[in-house]
């Protein structure tokens, strides 16, 4: 009788089983982050004072726009190369395909510090790229490649291209081959099939990939820290400096709130758009 009652379809058991995880997220994630956000609106100088002083600082506004710019470039480059690569992977013979997927998963499982560090060896003043360029006589003195926006973008694209490839391979595989065959047998050139059939069908997947890459690069810390340094301060590195070096809690909380607000609005807006475009997508 007791056992029968136990698996009766009542929600209480479900709630009880999910309670520990729910409480953990509530107590250690929602409440602390909520407190950070609420704190910025309870400033003695006035409700929006921290934000007014944030946007009055030329340096901090520059950091915000630089972060958005780096994320936008990273997203666009990753979309273009990720899509082309994913297309080739999705059409590869089965054996090669699983090898290519493994090759994309591997860098993803390698830590971000290791992956940023690799570019430090390549782009440094005495790095491999400079040595090669000097040896080939292309340049006469080493180029300053580190601590530039380009270095940060290269490092970020390196972080996120595998993610883009993996999320798009799944999408491209789900497009029925018949649709593409129908298009070409009705006389469309490969380019027309690509532009008018394949690309529109892949748009929801492209949006999901773009959101992942944009929010990921918008909040990344290790790569801009190592490859951009202080000259390319972004929101994440500024947040760390404010909190751990200057002990400016209000300033750090303001940056944290701005980052959270932008990230969540992008995720919500894009999932809304993706749903509008394709009612089948979730």
């Amino acid at each position: 009788m007791t056992s029968r009652r136990f698996w009766c379809r009542d929600g209480a058991t479900g709630w009880a089983l999910s309670a520990p995880a729910t409480l953990a997220v509530l107590c250690f994630l929602i409440v602390p982050i909520g407190a950070v956000i609420a704190g910025t609106f309870m400033d003695p100088r006035g409700a929006f004072a921290p934000y007014i002083s944030y946007f009055n600082s030329g340096f901090r506004t520059t950091v915000l726009f630089r972060t958005l710019q780096i994320s936008a470039f990273t997203t666009i480059i990753s979309l273009i190369f990720g899509f082309m690569t994913a297309y080739v992977v999705s059409r590869a013979p089965a054996k090669l395909k699983s090898l290519l997927i493994v090759a994309a998963v591997f860098p993803l499982l390698t830590g971000v510090v290791v992956r940023a560090f690799a570019w430090l060896i390549i782009l440094g003043r005495n790095g491999i790229l400079n040595q090669t360029l000097l040896a080939l006589g292309i340049v006469n003195e080493p180029l300053e490649m580190l601590y530039t926006q380009g270095a940060v973008i290269v490092g970020m694209v390196y972080l996120f291209v595998p993610l883009m490839v993996l999320s798009l391979v799944g999408v491209l595989e789900n497009i029925p081959k018949d649709v593409l065959q129908a298009s070409s047998s009705l006389g469309a050139s490969p380019m027309a099939t690509f532009r008018q059939v394949l690309l529109p069908l892949a748009v929801p997947g492209l949006i999901v990939g773009a959101v992942l890459v944009f929010t990921g690069s918008f909040t990344a810390y290790a790569t801009p820290q190592l490859l951009g340094g202080e000259r390319q301060t972004v929101l994440a590195t500024l947040l760390q400096q404010r909190a751990m070096v200057s002990f400016d809690w209000v300033g750090a909380s303001t940056i944290a709130t701005i980052m959270t607000a932008i990230t969540i609005s992008i995720v919500l807006a894009m999932s809304h758009i993706a749903r509008r475009i394709n009612p089948m997508a979730t």
Binding site: S18, V25, F28, M84, V113, Y158, A243, A256
Partner: protein, 262 residues
């Protein structure tokens, strides 16, 4: 349209893969170099920089801390995540939809914001010891992986089997351990591995939750790179990569790697 992609596309894809692989090869090469500075191709092969990892006490300590946190955090996440994933699937009708979203929140909010929030409320606000705060942070960032991967394997589990066992007199808790859990074994292993690697490589949360004497390996690597530019960091990186390869080999053996791409 033929099945074979355009040669230009194939060339681009080949270049992208080259771009993905070359930096990792360079790190391995630099780690094996006999020189005191970072260089590639390696000049003279040596393992001295691997020995140097263990000669530096900060690396020894942080490797131990990282492994402890990754193991404990993953175990706690499994302990609270498996019942949650089970409830989400078993009581899909009874439980509200937002509950599933709640468990994904830790990857939705920026990790660096989460780390800062934990510093502010736990370590500074409530005086929680650093190790405990680090453990809580890592448990939460791996929880979404655990819930999602195990939910995915439970989705293909036929709960009628469980009901059959219970109606034949098996106790519900015993049924869970003898019928349900063995059926989602692959999911549990995959969740463990994903969570362990995620925790081991985490930077953004650990960044704020380190203090005198307590730090994790990635944070120590960051600090080391900014002070010394010697091949030690390359060899630690290789060590981490080997760990990843070993873990991936285990996944490949048990589940097949395409599982991770899902």
């Amino acid at each position: 349209m033929s099945d074979r992609p355009h040669p230009i596309l194939i060339a681009v894809a080949a270049l992208v893969y080259l771009f993905l692989m070359v930096p990792l090869v360079i790190v391995v090469g630099a780690a094996l170099s006999d020189t005191t500075y970072l260089t590639f191709p390696p000049q003279g092969l040596s393992l001295r920089w691997f020995e140097n990892i263990f000669a530096i006490s900060a690396f020894r300590r942080t490797i131990v801390t990282s492994l402890q946190i990754a193991f404990l955090g993953t175990m706690i996440a499994l302990l609270i995540g498996i019942p949650a994933a089970y409830a989400l699937n078993r009581f899909r009708v009874e439980l509200p939809k937002w509950l599933g979203t709640l468990f994904v929140l830790p990857i939705l909010v920026p990790e660096i914001v989460f780390g800062f929030a934990l510093l502010k409320s736990l370590t500074v606000g409530a005086g929680v010891p650093i190790f405990a705060a680090l453990l809580i942070g890592h448990t939460l960032i791996v929880l979404p992986y655990v819930v999602r991967v195990i939910s995915a394997s439970l989705a293909s589990f036929d709960f009628a089997i469980e009901e059959a066992a219970i109606s034949l007199g098996s106790a519900p808790v015993k049924t869970f351990f003898t019928i349900v859990l063995p059926n989602v074994r692959a999911g549990v292993i995959a969740a463990f591995i994903l969570a362990f690697i995620t925790s081991l490589n985490d930077v953004s949360v650990s960044l704020f939750l380190t203090g005198p004497g307590i730090s994790t390996l990635p944070i120590q690597i960051l600090a080391h790179v900014e002070q010394f530019f010697d091949p030690t960091v390359a060899s630690v990186s290789v060590l981490l990569m080997f760990l990843t390869v070993a873990v991936m080999a285990i996944v490949e053996r048990t589940l097949g790697l395409t599982f991770l791409a899902k």
